[in-house]
Symmetry: C2
Amino acid sequence: MSMKISNYFPILDWGRTYKGETFVNDGIAAIIVTIMLIPQSLAYALLAGLPPQVGLYASILPLVAYAIFGTSKTLAVGPVAVISLMTAAAAGKMAAQGSPEYLAVAILLALISGIMLLVMGLFKLGFIANFLSHPVISGFITASGILIAVSQLKHILGVKVTGHNLLEIGQSLISQVPNTNVPTLIIGALSTAFLFWVRGNLKPLLIKVGLSEKLAGIGTRIGPVIAVVVSILAVIVLDLADKGVKIVGDIPKGLPPIAAPEFDMGLWISLLGSSVIIAIIGFVESVSVAQTLAAKKRQRIEPDQELIALGASNIASAFSGGYSVTGGFARSAVNFDAGAETPAAGGFTAIGIALATLFLTPLLFSLPIATLAATIIVAVLSLVNIPDIKQAWNYSKSDFAAMLATILLTLAIGVEAGVMAGVIISVAMFLYRSSRPHYAIVGQVRDTEHFRNVERHDVVTSPRVITMRVDESLYFANARFLEDAIYERALENKKVEHVILMCSAVNDIDLSALESLEAINERLKSAKISFHLSEVKGPVMDKLQKSHLLHDLTGEVFLSQHDAIKKICGNAFDTEIEFHL
Amino acid sequence: MSMKISNYFPILDWGRTYKGETFVNDGIAAIIVTIMLIPQSLAYALLAGLPPQVGLYASILPLVAYAIFGTSKTLAVGPVAVISLMTAAAAGKMAAQGSPEYLAVAILLALISGIMLLVMGLFKLGFIANFLSHPVISGFITASGILIAVSQLKHILGVKVTGHNLLEIGQSLISQVPNTNVPTLIIGALSTAFLFWVRGNLKPLLIKVGLSEKLAGIGTRIGPVIAVVVSILAVIVLDLADKGVKIVGDIPKGLPPIAAPEFDMGLWISLLGSSVIIAIIGFVESVSVAQTLAAKKRQRIEPDQELIALGASNIASAFSGGYSVTGGFARSAVNFDAGAETPAAGGFTAIGIALATLFLTPLLFSLPIATLAATIIVAVLSLVNIPDIKQAWNYSKSDFAAMLATILLTLAIGVEAGVMAGVIISVAMFLYRSSRPHYAIVGQVRDTEHFRNVERHDVVTSPRVITMRVDESLYFANARFLEDAIYERALENKKVEHVILMCSAVNDIDLSALESLEAINERLKSAKISFHLSEVKGPVMDKLQKSHLLHDLTGEVFLSQHDAIKKICGNAFDTEIEFHL
């Protein structure tokens, strides 16, 4: 493992060779991403229950931090839907939305999960994220999409709704329907309809009028900006704010305040659980986006360094009044399509957003909340992945069970309970499977030196000899299962004199498994059966040399299974064969 | 899986053919075990902080239940040292020793862990015990032995001591040394010395005077009975009870009271954690004793039925005023050596103990507690297994770490914390290893159809083709690691046109791994590299047929790796080889 400083600061690598031409490409991408990011940042801050400027703050310094530490050339970090929902769920448990405490908790969540990501990166603990299995992530994202869409309906209706799970939100929403504000509903419904139309129909239209596929794609992503501009104009011209339409209102002008988050030991400890879930979900989302884009250009990302980069981004966010960030798919894809070549594009985007917070916020005063809610609803409904549920059902019932449990618990109880239950179910099923290794009784393929499963091949065996091939490394989790399997075969038949364990697929034997092998040896010895090993791999043999097993073994260790059979059965072999199949 | 009723009631099998000759042998074994069991039952009840008769009660009905349900011919259940210590630790958290509540909690612990064992047996969940790895069990037993021995020193000194871990007990003990009762110390020290002498020297002596090895072994086990008888006589003759020597005193005469344990929902819930640990530790201890003895006669035990039998024994214990029981090594070995042939011997032992509670208890009135403590100390010091610690150190540092953590935490905090920490460390290390499967880049052994690891063998490869052989089934835990490994090899080299994944050791592909294979296929496609599979096993292929992977695959699925190389490299192969080693 190399400890080069540039491993931790990828900017030193790509920065050295930065060219003018690259600067132009990165700059153009940055302008397009900035335009797309302004309404998105406001919308996700709304979803997280935070003031709109917090979304903008989370899109400035975090991007600079990622540009310094990130290994993906095109990943764009910032607020995303699922993490915003999780922030709302976690902060909502500690304080009331809109209170200064709520904002402080949101900032602290970013800081703690940032520190966790950084530590995981420095200690190369990225593998922890692997225990979020695909069905759990997929089920969680689908359920989150539904939850988010439903939670935003209140803004479309212009009513107040509470709750953190589908039941609570649904009940509250239904009871509030009579209080619907009609002008808000009209703006919300029109925005939603327009954005759905953009998503489905604008791209082919733009291609028809002569734009390239790539440009048409980018044009489609700008759709929300059109909705924002038109609805601001509508509010101003028709004086809708006075008719009960909620608007964004006064966004504090100026750059984010640089300040250290609060340190309150008790609060930190109570946020640890939520922070670790936000950190890992954010990392999984980000890494999967980064890998997808990197592969398109035969580039690679370093998952452990990505942990450091995301950690730094979140810490930067917390120190500049922002909340949890991660790499988002939509904005990264736009960045990629718009021609970004280096992480510098992210840095330039940060400058763009900073300029917006300095000069653009007064223009957003009259932006209706309903329009932001519409952009969220249309964005998150694409997270709901029904084909994936069908595929899980078809492919594997146990994977389907994990997915269904995650979806139902996320909807019924909340995001954290859902994802935790999913992980526990997946790991439990994994441990269960690991505890029963695949093994086969093998026999010799006639006139060859090959040995195959007696149940699948036409092989010969001797009633005096049982050869068991185990197809996994031997660990504490499966060692006793193997013991039982051997006793079952060896002790049920009085003719058995030799048991051979064929270790061709055994890459490791831990202490528990060693103990099991010693127990097998002892117990077979009590029953006057010799215990042999064959085809033990080099590194495993080295380890066994350090134990008593080889000394106590009643039988021998054979280099090959063929040697074992030749030595044990000798010339008498032909007279004792049994035919299989 | 057969659902025969006799699978659940093994007594129906062996009872059908029960003969007079077997009856004699079982009867003799029962008499010997009964004699040995009386002082042991009293001593372990003392260790558990319970009245002496509770130990006797736990040695009656549980033995009958085991005789009905057990699959081991010679296992003897009853109170054992480690479970008694755990009972004291768990009950001590809920009530004061000596109070009726303490006794009620001890009985409830037996009931709840009995129900858990029964349920685990009915649902065939015995594999759960496999997650107690050998280093954890060994470390736990060693630490428990030390804790128990130290905790009994107070009875040798005749002082009062409190605490549940080594530090607390040690401090309390040292502060109490000045209060030592000298007659108690003399009895305790003499008993301990005598029992150590019996353990080390009596057997050879008995053999010398002409006893058989087996009889000499049994004679040694009766040692504690001699100590008990002599010390009772000493107390009576020398009037030691008046000189401050604590004696057992009045043991209620008569059979155990049959009564349903209390039902208090809150109490049950708060005992769940302790009960599950007691259940699993008890099961592991019992099964390992049963397997050792069964193998000596080429008999087999059924671990899942053992769960049912142990569950029934503990429930029977709870309903008859006893506490948690399990199979003990010493008494089972005596039972075996004394010639027990069927579980009926256990039933006869139960009758023996029942007779003792009816008629023998007045004789035990003057038995000094110090003598019982001496029998415990001598018995548990054999649990302390230093060679096992050395072996772990030599064999594997990670196993050693798990063992050391278990020992230190058990001593420093307590039995439950120790065993939980050990399990968590073992499972975490297991998950870590599982997340990095063994894989190899393989090449063709010249002029053969064999393919081997390029790092270990002299093979030829083509710069256009990368073949990766993965030596484990593909699960969510290792799928992303495989993805990274493939990207690292395939994307770093611009010449690569084909990647072949050789699946000869892959027994399963779960949904997460399928997703990873699809991602690999997509990302390699973006990089214009074809992705092939070779040597996919039948059942795995059946599963893949249900997915889109085979349809979307940019390459082919080859029956053998040789076919793959022949098709991809064709005649040009010879011109592009690179030599390895």
